[in-house]
Amino acid sequence: MTKSLNSNIPEGAMHEKWTQHKFNMKLVNPANKRKHTVIVVGSGLAGASAAASLSELGYKVKCFCFQDSPRRAHSIAAQGGINASKNYPNDGDSPRRLFYDTVKGGDFRAREANVHRLAEISNSIIDQCVAQGVPFAREYGGTLDNRSFGGAQVSRTFYARGQTGQQLLLGAYSALEKEIAKGSVEMFSRTEMLELIVIDGKARGIVTRNLVTGKIESHIADAVVLGTGGYGNAYFLSTNAMGCNVTATWRAHKKGAYFANPCYTQIHPTCIPVHGDSQSKLTLMSESLRNDGRVWVPKQADDKRPAKQIPEDERDYYLERKYPSFGNLVPRDLASRNAKYVCDEGRGVGPSGLAVYLDFADAIKRLGKDTIKARYGNLFDMYQRISASDPYKEPMMIYPAIHYTMGGLWVDYNLMSNLPGLFVIGEANFSDHGANRLGASALMQGLADGYFILPYTIGNYLAGTKIDPITVSHPDVATAEKTVINKTEQLLSIKGTRTVDDFHRELGLLLWDKCGMARDESGLKEALKRIPEIREAFWKDVNVLGSPGEFNQTLERAGRVADFLEFGELLVTDALHRKESCGGHFREEYQTDEGEAQRDDENFCYVAAWEFNGVGETPTLHKEALAFEEVHLTQRSYK
């Protein structure tokens, strides 16, 4: 049964909604705030900023992360930058323009009101970060510098060398540590959330495993916030960190939270290609390289000559050929898909045939090696460190990889899921990016959620909801703990013949193949058949050694892979159901004559939020209709 969802978007004009909503929301009396405990799972940009801000307001906060320190959340790896509509360069930017670009970039699959709020808040984020000591790049006059990024015609990206995510996270982390020192945040690092505790229909706590001692523990609170990041690792090889997982959101989903748009995954065109079987993850090379690099492959299939020996007229600069006006700077999805096509035609380069050249020879000739070095020196060094080839002399080899996931737990305007008391922020929610995220917008969204939205909306919930006092001795808590303990014991008891990574790799390859850059009905159906088989094999034949009561990294991974094996099915189900192409979701059957993604606004202009009905059971679809009042639905074109 399909039922529609209430997104709780406030009434009023678009630009007044948030202001008005802030005024209308109920407040918690300052003296009562410390009587409320809030659990924040995740210490990335979203989690750390939320935990610190809630604690500053006076709430008691418990914060969790699986790394050894909150500072190591994967937000640390973001390179490029963070957007804000400050209009410092005086090039005509405004919150409205940022709003417009984001809705359009998301291929009209995001909620307008959320995106508008994001654009309004963006400027305060930069102010906050600078005050915390984030060393953003500066002009000689001492003011902040901006650079431009894909999908926008203005310069609105703030950056700290190639380590923007690191610096922003260190800012949020320092705020968090300040609150930990004050005693109002209790930090649990190396602690993994393995279950959501739902009592009387409300999210009331979590069950965790201490990754060092193996101790299973329950934590009770008045609200639970998940800021646990994206699920890109379902694909095994991705630019995500090794520990990134779907476990927290998936287990919440199994407890009733709807999962929205899981098929919206983003593929980044410029990653270092796979080198062989032992590969464990992929490394991103900044998108900025496409400003000066030219993408090409040989015209002939199976041309094994080294790049240098392929004469100019036997090279196919396919992006320049197909998209004369945008050339090498087409959006991420187009660049990625076209790389796949040429490799499918047997024209890929490198030992695996799964790579295309990104050539700087012309740029070096035109601008000189020094200029190129100044622009991309650190990226070239990183490339050389990993691939042992000198990009000043030989063209780089690149290939697309899974990078970001737009899908996530469904939330309303208040960032609360359909389960009362469960809030979801950052990459973990289905977010404001629709079907495609623009560069430098994820950092903005994570910090907007954590610093400036959640602290208000959670107060509204706490002030307006009757929350019964409970303790860990509540019977539902024991049941939740039992689920976790059973699962752990089961994993350890199989003692099969295959390793956890082996299964993960198998699932990842399948998803990449059938539900990656381009998808079609038959492939998706095949994946839907294969995933349950892999899952079954996993539960029969996986080998997880050691005991539950110790530091056991295989056990950690096994739990995460078990969840990916269930989640993968939902990902594919969603991709199969969405019979249109939009943003990162490209269905071969639905393209324009020019090979562009063809949306079906008539039938699919909605958020698909799935309800869990049991492992292997068909989930129930709930639709949140999307209305576009401010930005009118149009077809993207980059010709």
Partner: protein
């Protein structure tokens, strides 16, 4: 990307938990791709161990791109191995030769107790930050970002210090297991910026005292930390911290 593989002898530190004694264990590993990273080589060893029902080696890692600071081990006597400015996860096996013996130990320091095998507990660093490694600004109370003008040089120097990934290689490489490079980088990132001035001296003092409490050693100005740092943090930071610390104390 070569097709040839190499064969290695690995002497790896094994220690069940913080309390047990620990010892070296020797493993032969064949078919190692020179294009694999050091951690991928360890993955390969762990896969082999698991298939033979032997407990895999515990080691910390996450991003595998040299930015999270989670990985680290002492490889043949060098923190993060032989390559300059490179974390263990970015060290590639092409820097080793067929037939090499590689000795792998955890970062050793009183302040970093071993959790298991190569995994260590670095929460001491978090506690040092808690002692003052922040600017006390509440969410929402910041002025417009361009109100604070910061000379480009100051901003660049602050960024140089701020690049620290908190991996602990400085402690591991220091003959005295001192954490001065980490602590000074943290202190200076903030003290080089105008926003960091109000708390500059109390921050320096409190963070140093916390560092001492954690049981790290004392700097004897031998600069081994800088040589091992994967992010090239300069020991000039230590000089600057020492200066601020005397001012703060006397």
């Amino acid at each position: 990307m070569s097709a040839k593989t190499i064969k290695l002898t690995l002497k790896v530190w094994r220690q069940k938990n913080a309390k047990s004694k620990g010892k070296f264990e020797t493993h032969k590993l064949d078919h190692v791709s020179p294009d694999a990273s050091f951690l991928e080589m360890l993955d390969q060893l762990n896969e082999n161990l698991t298939l033979k029902n032997n407990d895999p080696i515990a080691f910390d890692h996450d991003c595998r791109e040299g930015i999270c600071g989670m990985c680290g081990a002492v490889v043949n006597g060098e923190a993060h191995g032989p390559e300059k400015s490179t974390t263990l996860c970015q060290l590639h096996m092409r820097h080793f030769k067929n037939g090499d013996t590689i000795i792998i130990e955890p970062f050793r320091a009183k302040g970093f107790p071993v959790i298991k095998d190569l995994a260590i507990d670095r929460t001491a660093f978090d506690r040092v930050i808690q002692a003052g490694g922040y600017i006390s600004v509440r969410t929402g109370s910041a002025p417009d970002a361009n109100v604070i003008l910061i000379p480009k040089d100051a901003s660049d120097s602050a960024m140089d210090a701020a690049q620290c990934i908190g991996c602990g290689a400085c402690v591991a490489a220091c003959p005295n297991a001192s954490a001065m490079l980490f602590v000074s980088a943290k202190i200076n990132h903030l003290s080089l910026l105008p926003q960091g001035q109000p708390e500059r001296y109390s921050r320096a003092k409190n963070m140093v005292l916390q560092m001492d409490k954690e049981g790290f050693g004392n700097c004897s100005n031998e600069y081994q930390c800088e040589a091992a740092c994967p992010k090239d943090i300069s020991v000039e930071n230590i000089a600057r911290m020492n200066r601020d610390y005397v001012k703060a104390s006397l």
